[in-house]
Symmetry: C2
Subunit: 234 residues, 2 copies
């Protein structure tokens, strides 16, 4: 349509770069708060009162309320009428169900990836994987962790199923705080690499069954490794 180029001020700097719709205040706050929760900057059980958040982000309470509403729908905070929002306390039982669900989802993704990945995708996955070997030898936990995220994301995308992708990404986000420290465990890096190797091999062979099982087992192990860090407060 027409471009009413009358207004000024707003950055119309839309280039090739994906436009990050950080736009509205609310979206930024959702991301910021979600990040704090996920990274543990705010602890489960903590109250998030609107006024404090409003002054902290230097906005009014209206956008804060909308952000909390969305966070509630995302399951990151609990909300009850006339009560402050509370950072969701992921109980041990629910945490376990999330890890189990994650294992199932990863299994599905790996199986579908083995069946559906394009030649390019398979190659990219294999390269990504092989490239991480030096990180293992170097003991670069931080870097390997980044690689690990990328590796799994490729698996999710390779399944070519948008809804599954959505579910698995969401589940991973909520599990993030409980997995962060897993690569600190001695020998976990090398083990992780070996497990990835089984998955990659199966996918390259287009063996869905094997890939699914290997991915399931992989997550199960991570689950065990992470269980240590789950605060059994409840």
């Amino acid at each position: 349509m027409q471009s009413s180029n009358k207004q000024i001020g707003i950055v119309k700097q839309v280039k090739r770069r994906e436009v990050i719709r950080t736009g509205t205040t609310v979206e930024q706050m959702v991301r910021a708060i979600a990040d704090m929760i996920v990274t543990g900057a705010i602890l489960p059980g903590e109250k998030l009162d609107e006024i404090s958040l409003a002054s902290r982000f230097e906005v009014s309470r209206t956008p804060v309320r909308e952000a909390l509403r969305e966070l509630g729908a995302m399951g990151l905070v609990g909300r009850e009428p006339n009560r402050s929002a509370i950072v969701t306390n992921v109980t041990g039982s629910y945490l376990h169900s999330m890890f189990e669900a994650m294992a199932e989802l990863e299994g599905i993704c790996a199986r579908l990836s083995a069946e559906r990945m394009t030649v390019d995708e398979r190659r990219a996955l294999e390269l990504e994987h092989r490239g991480s070997m030096r990180l293992v030898h170097a003991g670069a936990e931080e870097e390997y962790s980044a690689h690990n995220t990328e590796f799994h994301t490729r698996l999710y995308r390779g399944a070519h199923n948008d809804h599954v992708l959505e579910m698995v990404m969401q589940t991973r986000a909520r599990l993030a705080p409980f997995r962060r420290a897993q690569f600190r465990l001695p020998g976990r890096l090398a083990k992780s690499y070996q497990e990835h190797d089984v998955i990659v091999t199966a996918i390259v062979r287009a063996d869905g069954q094997a890939a699914g099982q290997a991915a399931y087992a992989h997550v199960e192990i991570v689950s065990d490794a992470s269980a240590v860090f789950a605060t059994p407060g409840e």
Copy 2:
């Protein structure tokens, strides 16, 4: 001024409007709008502007905005800055991915149910199933549909995994408008009963593998049956 701080006040929230079941205005609106979308009272692609909704529900725009925010997080409406909310148009491709995901999830639930259901749960499932036979003979589509929902819900709960339950319920909700008419197809009722029968039998035998496969196949068939109704506008 306080009167009874005993425990309730739930119904007291309303002043001029009729009795309301639960909680805040926003929650009611979320339910109401979600219901309209899911039942097809509002069609995909339709714009939901705040002012119209506000006057329709006789509230101000503030709660409307919060409701839309939540519906957006639920994936029922799409939102972009400075644009009206739009009922999510589930494109053919995404719809397909949801049905596929649904089949996977149902498969997981059936398998886990076969492994984990208590004796009581198994008996209840079997009774529910057997009881539906007369609905099939009577050709009671509406009633059978209700039974069907209950049957599947039992499967989801029987898996004893809260996160999977959450995902499968959410996916089902979003697929609802596309499944509504499935039992109108001739012979679908009897077929559905037979398929349920295979699932129940496997679960009673605690055969997870068979139960999972049967449930997966069951949903796949529903997917095919529903495909006819998809792509209403676009």
